[in-house]
């Protein structure tokens, strides 16, 4: 008995701390703590602050929540032309990016799932857009899409598609960023270019988890590539594709840097997206209330989309 107590007392402080931390409740709290703090400080507080701001007449000059104005900010925002265009563009760009990504990521996955010479090099080249800083990428793309010096224009002119007598009119410049639909298309192209590596990696992970025997069985069963792709590979990828869609949709719809860097929402508001308009309103123009209202507008849509997508992903997995 006395030996036992002696050994207890002789344990060092550090040993005691370690043992204390090893208790399930303490350990759980320690592990969980950082995540909770992160969510509270960086997600919950800004989110509820944004809700508060959207209901007030706060500006950058007087950022207080003293004067609540109800839903007036939302009312005013909805009745501006830029809002309708921004909402349309946000949804349109997101939808187009997702469709392009699904097709291209699935195609790229089929390529990268095979063995061939130079596969490593191709993988590295493929991942580069994701590793490149946005601003650097934007400079490159700004040059590509420049109104005067675009190399794309130069190629098209030499192909006889652009310029006098060309298929697409007499002008020898396409003004990619200076026209509404070309501007939107440009944003979509650059967004797809940036997101494709991420989407492909997600899809590739799912693709490589399909047992090889199943694909060989389909080959022996006489199925051609397209049938194997649509009847064997894509059904097996469905849960992964849903995750990829959800992920990229949330990234694209909340993203403003491409529009900010390429077109600044112009010409006029024709390529405006909601996040960029929220930034312009709330920060540049100083109307915090309206900015918050714009930013919050997509929240319910996103929430419903996220919940639906997750439920579908679970259901497919249970099958």
């Amino acid at each position: 008995m006395s030996a036992h107590t002696a050994s207890r007392e002789s344990r060092s402080l550090s040993q005691r701390v370690v043992e204390f931390c090893d208790r399930p409740r303490v350990l759980g709290a320690l592990m969980f703590g950082p995540a909770v703090i992160y969510v509270v400080v960086f997600v919950a507080v800004p989110f509820f602050l944004a809700i508060g701001l959207s209901l007030s007449d706060a500006t950058v000059g007087s950022p207080t929540l003293n004067n609540l104005v109800g839903l007036q900010n939302f009312y005013e925002v909805v009745h501006q032309e830029a809002f309708v265009i921004g909402l349309r563009n946000s949804l349109l760009i997101t939808a187009l990016v997702i469709v392009c990504l699904l097709v291209l990521a699935t195609a790229a996955t089929e390529l990268l799932a095979r063995d061939f010479k130079g596969k490593r090099l191709l993988q590295i080249i493929f991942i580069l857009p994701w590793a490149m800083p946005v601003s650097l990428a934007a400079i490159t793309w700004l040059w590509f899409l420049d109104s005067q010096f675009s190399p794309l224009d130069w190629v098209l002119v030499h192909l006889g598609l652009l310029g006098p007598g060309g298929l697409w009119g007499p002008a020898s410049h396409a003004y990619y960023l200076g026209r509404e639909w070309l501007g939107i298309a440009s944003v979509v192209v650059v967004d797809v270019w940036r997101m494709l590596p991420l989407a492909t990696i997600i899809v590739l992970a799912g693709r490589l988890s399909i047992p090889r025997e199943r694909l060989e069985q389909a080959t022996i069963d006489g199925a051609r590539f397209m049938r194997i792709l649509f009847r064997v590979i894509i059904p097996a990828l469905a849960p992964v594709l849903i995750v990829a869609v959800l992920f990229t949709a949330l990234l694209v719809i909340g993203e403003m840097s491409m529009v900010a860097l390429l077109t600044r929402g112009g010409p006029g508001h024709s390529t405006m997206v909601l996040p960029y308009w929220a930034y312009l309103k709330g920060i540049e123009s100083g109307d915090l209330g309206q900015g918050a209202a714009i930013a919050l507008f997509l929240f319910p849509v996103l929430l419903v989309a996220a919940v639906l997508a997750l439920r579908m992903a679970y259901r497919t997995q249970e099958d």
Binding site: P211, E213, R214, E216, Q217, A218, T219, I220, D221, G222, A223, R224, R227, R231, V232, P235, A236, A238, D319
Partner: protein, 350 residues
């Protein structure tokens, strides 16, 4: 029905010779097992027959027609994988129909083929289920149905029983054999399990390190192994292989008799010290050390295994010592260098 033939078939992966010159010919409607330990090249051989791998050299003939370079789709070789490889998101019905739909078979024919094959395998009640809701035995039947539905010339089975529970394996084996007897489709059956190979196949081809060692009936393989590898591989426990100078004496555990038990002249008489006895139900195995009786046995006294039935007069105990004979008709001899079977050397049994 068809005859499958491989001619000096080789497959190299870099410097590894997975299949190294295999000549194999099946009879029409035969079930031929390809038996070998893992890494012996049997899977590569099977994949080349199915068309999933191209041979490095040599030829594969089905009914005398070379199929090398022909896409698996056009080979009419059906394969059942070890995992059964059912399509998990399709019903059993769609799984079975998949080869027909892929080949653009008419709907009426699809239906009649489906009826025919579900009748044979008795799986009518499973058609609307998903593969995830099937037991191992049911999955196997569905995989067989999907292979059978296209009327293949040739079946290739990749260890079809090893993913089943031990309890249902013997039943599945019997069903597989009865299916083969009814359909008479030439079948290549690849396995590492000699019980499956010996118990199921008409003939067994033993392959090791990419080389074919012996092709024969299960009985021939067991009684007259062509070389030391087959002798040591077939049989559980394997044949006792005892060094005698330049030759090796092979004797099955059940072919060692107590001296005086039989009248037949003996090839050798061994002085054995038994150190362990295993009770296995109908029979027992005795493990012993040969203390004398072998000329030129080497420095280490060799070990032998003896098998005796429960109704035998004498039950051995550990620690017992006795003299055992191998009758000349049961003794097999191999050359130590070439490892091939040889005739009984002179001086034996004198």
């Amino acid at each position: 029905m068809a005859i499958l033939q491989t001619q000096s078939l080789k497959k190299h992966y870099g410097r590894i010779h997975a299949v190294d010159g295999v000549d194999l010919t099946t009879a029409d409607g035969e079930m031929l097992a390809v038996l070998g330990p893992s890494g012996s090249g049997k899977s590569t051989l099977m994949r080349m027959v199915a068309g999933l791998e191209e041979p490095s050299s040599g030829d594969i003939l089905i009914d005398g027609r070379s199929v090398v370079g022909i896409h698996p789709r056009h080979r009419n070789v059906a394969m059942v994988f070890q995992s059964f490889a059912l399509y998990p998101h399709m019903s059993v019905r769609d799984n079975i129909r998949f080869p027909l739909v892929s080949r653009k078979v008419s709907r009426a024919e699809q239906r009649s083929k489906l009826d025919w094959v579900t009748g044979i395998l008795e799986i009518d009640d499973l058609l609307d289920r998903r593969p995830t809701r099937l037991s191992g035995g049911q999955s196997q039947k569905v995989a067989l149905a999907r292979a059978l539905v296209r009327d293949p010339e040739l079946f290739v089975f990749d260890e079809p029983l090893s993913s089943l529970d031990a309890q249902i394996r013997s039943q599945a084996r019997a069903e597989l054999r009865s299916l083969h007897d009814r359909t008479q489709i030439t079948t290549l059956y690849v396995t590492h399990d000699q019980l499956e190979a010996l118990g199921l196949a008409d003939r067994v081809a033993v392959i090791h390190n990419g080389v074919l060692h012996q092709v024969g009936t299960p009985r021939a393989l067991y009684q007259d192994p062509a070389d030391l590898f087959v002798a040591g591989f077939i049989g559980d426990p394997p044949m006792n292989l005892l060094k005698m100078g330049d030759t090796v004496l092979g004797a099955r555990p059940e072919d060692l008799f107590r001296e005086g038990e039989i009248s037949e002249p003996a090839a050798v008489t061994l002085d054995v010290e038994i150190d362990q006895v295993e009770f296995l139900g109908a029979e027992s195995l005795a493990y012993g050390i040969v203390r004398g009786g072998l000329p030129d046995a080497g420095e280490q006294p060799p070990r032998v295994i003896l098998r005796f039935r429960q109704e035998a007069e004498h039950h051995f105990q550990a620690g017992e010592r006795g003299r055992f004979v191998v009758p000349r008709s049961r003794a097999r001899f191999f050359d130590r260098k070439t490892e091939q079977r040889v005739a009984e050397p002179k001086g034996v049994g004198a």
